[in-house]
Subunit: 250 residues, 2 copies
């Protein structure tokens, strides 16, 4: 059996706060202390806040290009400017969406720039600069404080090209191999699976969202307990990215 | 807390078998009887087998077109023929993949035709003809046998356009609203969420895969317990499909 445990009672994280410590303390306080082989899924906006990746839109001077796009699509010019600054390239604009490839290589709406769960009316959160590094830091901090070996996943909410609704995926990982390569395993009838690589870090992010995604309750993180994951000391979320030129469906 | 409980000890399902009853019995036998508001996620291949959606490739006569494609992409002509019969249109061919839109409207590799976990060397499983109906039947059967009101999700493994690895998504639903519409909800700081619809049925399918996806153990279904889902008597997985002409990324 696998348990998905919401970590409640985490104080509002501000710039410079220690996310790892906040999670360890909150988990202890609610009677579910961190255990070895736990997977800790943290929603990125908490990490972004701790890392000071907050921008006040009133302090952003939009470029002429950002103003043009904002007018065309009915958006805030300063927000568009921030999105463009985070983008490596623009994948598509239309229907009120600006889909870009971020500097990390993620393809997502608005470059992951997020208005939700950010204090201050004109503040937005950018994605962490290096979400794998953010995950590694939290993992190290948990080890220092508890002696436990855990996996850490930084999650974000992504739309999909051809399915409605959003799901959570992994944008940063530490201590866990994000893809489970199952080629060579046998099925129930002894048939060897041929092309099966499961994006377990994404599935774990989606599972965690089931307890995190309660906007009014403030659950910034979850523990997933009981899943036997493949440990990795050099894990990176980059392995989950398929280059655009290799896109399956385009 | 949410629990993901693997349902083990389900006998190998054959054509005509009662999937609902098999799940109820196996859940009881392992000491985790079905409860009200459980979500039962069933991997589609079990349903396909029960519904006789198995094709012996030796009995398929490939068309000239299927033979041409098979040669071009190094595939089995009979398999290609089956894929084409299940397809409404072809989205893309290349790199050993045939991505189609199925008659249901799903966009997936090989029209969801599956070699894994199907007995018989030359047998493949097609997707259920109407996975929502399959889910409704299992839900009704569980209610008849146990008196419990549950949600049922039929899951399948899908690739993604721009991310590596596969995840599980919902291809059939009963008793649960597959999209959670969160527009109008408030975030932690009182900001009203604007465009947030979470594909909870897909997230639940991915969560279930964490216990189902052990090819060698034969876990065809899982119970997800403790997730407060929105009940729906006229749920359909069609709500999860975005028409190709509205694709976000293409």
């Amino acid at each position: 059996m696998i348990e998905i445990i919401p970590i409640k009672g985490v104080p509002i994280i501000k710039e410079g706060d220690d996310v790892g410590e906040a999670i360890v303390k909150a988990a202890e306080a609610q009677g579910t202390p961190i255990q070895d082989r736990d997977i800790i899924v943290v929603t990125h906006v908490v990490v972004s806040r701790a890392e000071g990746r907050i921008v006040n839109l009133d302090e952003v001077k939009p470029s002429r290009f950002a103003e043009t796009i904002a007018e065309e699509y009915g958006k805030d010019p300063s927000l568009v400017e921030v999105v463009l600054r985070e983008a490596k390239s623009i994948v598509r604009m239309g229907d009120g969406h600006i889909i870009v490839e971020t500097r990390h290589g993620f393809i997502c709406a608005n470059a992951g720039v997020d208005k939700s769960n950010v204090p201050g009316k004109r503040n937005v959160a950018l994605l962490p600069e290096d979400p794998d590094l953010s995950a590694r830091r939290i993992r190290e901090r948990v080890r220092e404080l508890t002696g436990k070996d855990v996996a850490v996943i930084i999650s974000d909410t992504h739309g999909r090209a051809l399915r409605e609704g959003e799901i959570n995926v992994a944008i940063g990982v530490a201590g866990i191999e994000p893809l489970r390569d199952r080629r060579g395993e046998n099925d129930l009838f002894g048939y060897t699976l041929k092309v099966k690589r499961t994006a377990v870090a994404d599935e774990l992010s989606s599972a965690a969202e089931l307890v995190i995604g309660q906007a009014d309750e403030g659950v910034p993180a979850a523990i997933i307990r009981g899943y036997r994951y493949q440990r990795s000391e050099d894990a990176t979320s980059k392995r989950l990215l398929r280059p655009r030129e290799k896109s399956l469906f385009i």
